[in-house]
């Protein structure tokens, strides 16, 4: 005879920019469906963050990974100190790798890795109990814009592919080895359909594609 432990994921901080917000459809992106699926699987969880949208809190870091730890409206350390999440979802997509929207252009894989590791190490220093989930990075959508010219988009597509297959998992493994449990989340069943240069659509094939791997990652990193 065995016992059944209640499943409790604790407080989850979704940290990111527009994809974390759920731009541009206005229904919260992958976050509401993530909590619906967690509840369906028998999990208790709550969203924390200084911003509330579609009934779920989260945090906007700024416009690039650099803003997670060097400034922006919600610097990471202050957000974690205030919200004390148990799970940190680092929702960075390909445009977050730059120095800022519309400036900087593509950055090297080494720079991306350094920035992500800086984010993680700072988070772990502020909250040594933290568990980190890194969703697979979204690739670019269609369309040529002044901020996202096609020439840059091709470079990002190549960098993103390398990130999702090599860099992201390697960072998760190294982070776990250093004592902070970390999961790289993916792959998605398919690359989400975009409504613009990066943001998925709200309907099937868009944000919903991200939900199942993210839920699986949460359940893996907090087994009970």
């Amino acid at each position: 005879m065995t016992v059944t432990w209640g499943k409790h994921a604790g407080a989850i901080l979704f940290m990111g920019d527009s994809t974390c917000l759920g731009s541009v459809g206005g229904t919260g992106g992958y976050r509401p469906a993530t909590f619906t699926q967690l509840a369906s699987d028998g999990w208790q969880a709550r969203a924390v963050g200084s911003v509330s949208n579609n009934g779920l809190c989260f945090a906007i870091a700024g416009t690039s990974l650099v803003d997670f730890y060097t400034g922006g409206a919600h610097p990471l350390d202050a957000e974690i100190t205030a919200q004390r999440p148990f799970i940190l979802m680092l929702t960075a997509v390909y445009n977050d790798w730059r120095a800022g929207d519309g400036v900087g252009g593509p950055v090297s894989q080494a720079t991306v890795r350094t920035r992500m590791e800086t984010v993680i190490s700072q988070a772990a220093a502020v909250a040594p109990w933290l568990r980190i989930v890194i969703p697979q990075c979204l690739t670019s959508g269609a369309g040529d814009t002044a901020a996202w010219p096609n020439a840059d988009r091709a470079a990002y597509a190549a960098a993103t592919a390398a990130w999702n297959s090599t860099t992201g998992p390697a960072i998760a493994a190294a982070t776990t080895a250093s004592g902070t449990p970390c999961v790289f989340c993916g792959p998605y069943a398919s690359e989400p359909t975009k409504s613009d240069f990066v943001h998925p659509v709200d309907t099937a094939g868009g944000y919903p594609v991200m939900v199942a791997p993210i839920v699986a990652a949460i359940e893996a990193i907090k087994p009970r």
Partner: protein, 264 residues
Amino acid sequence: MEPNLPPRLLLNIPGSKPGASLPWDAGGAVLTEPTYIVSGFSDTKYFAGANGAGTGMIGTVRIVMRTTTPPTGAQSHTIVTHTNDADGWYFLINVNGFMGQVRDSSGPSWVAFPAYGTAGTSYFVAGSLYVVHLTVGAGVGGKVRSYVQGAETAAQAALTGSAVASSASSGLWIGRYQSTGGLAATGEDVVSVCVSPTEMTPAQVIADAEAIMGRTARLRFPALPGEAERYVAKDLVAVADWHDRDGDDATLTKNGAPTVALLT
């Protein structure tokens, strides 16, 4: 996950408390005792310690418990209390979640576990086991924190100048609120309660909870840092009153007939 181990022979260990048995080593494998659970609490069925006995000044309280009938409406189920309304501490469940309070004469410090999902819906799932911690940081500006399954759920700045002073007018009760009667833990079952004057860190709480939840049979309950009191349901199989395994600082007198049953 640590493997679930087969039953072991029960030995009479000289010096052990009534009903207690200790993990022991057999060829390198530490075997464990069966796990029991106490249920059926009500206004007339509970365990009560003498006033002045036990740990009034807490750093950490850990409860391993199960909800069978979640509270509804205005109901509050008090699992553990060591207060007479003027000082002490307690845990209770209501429809909005799980709440703890520490207080002394200067005032209370509440820590309310936030409701999850739909407001007004208790988030403890009936039939499942939970490990709940309440920790208290000493001093004004210290924090009272609550945890479920190792994850912090809420924090509140401690209002008191110290955690909580021990009181000669309150004692540890399990299954019912002490001072005013009522607020019994109907529908809440208790596997073990441990109390320490030492505050555990969040990392310690996680490790502690995971050590307990890593097993699904014949559970183990690691010692809290500085643990002062330990009540394990199994100890009620052989005797009526609930003895503290850590030196028997406070023996809880059985009132009525709470039910003791083998859990795993």
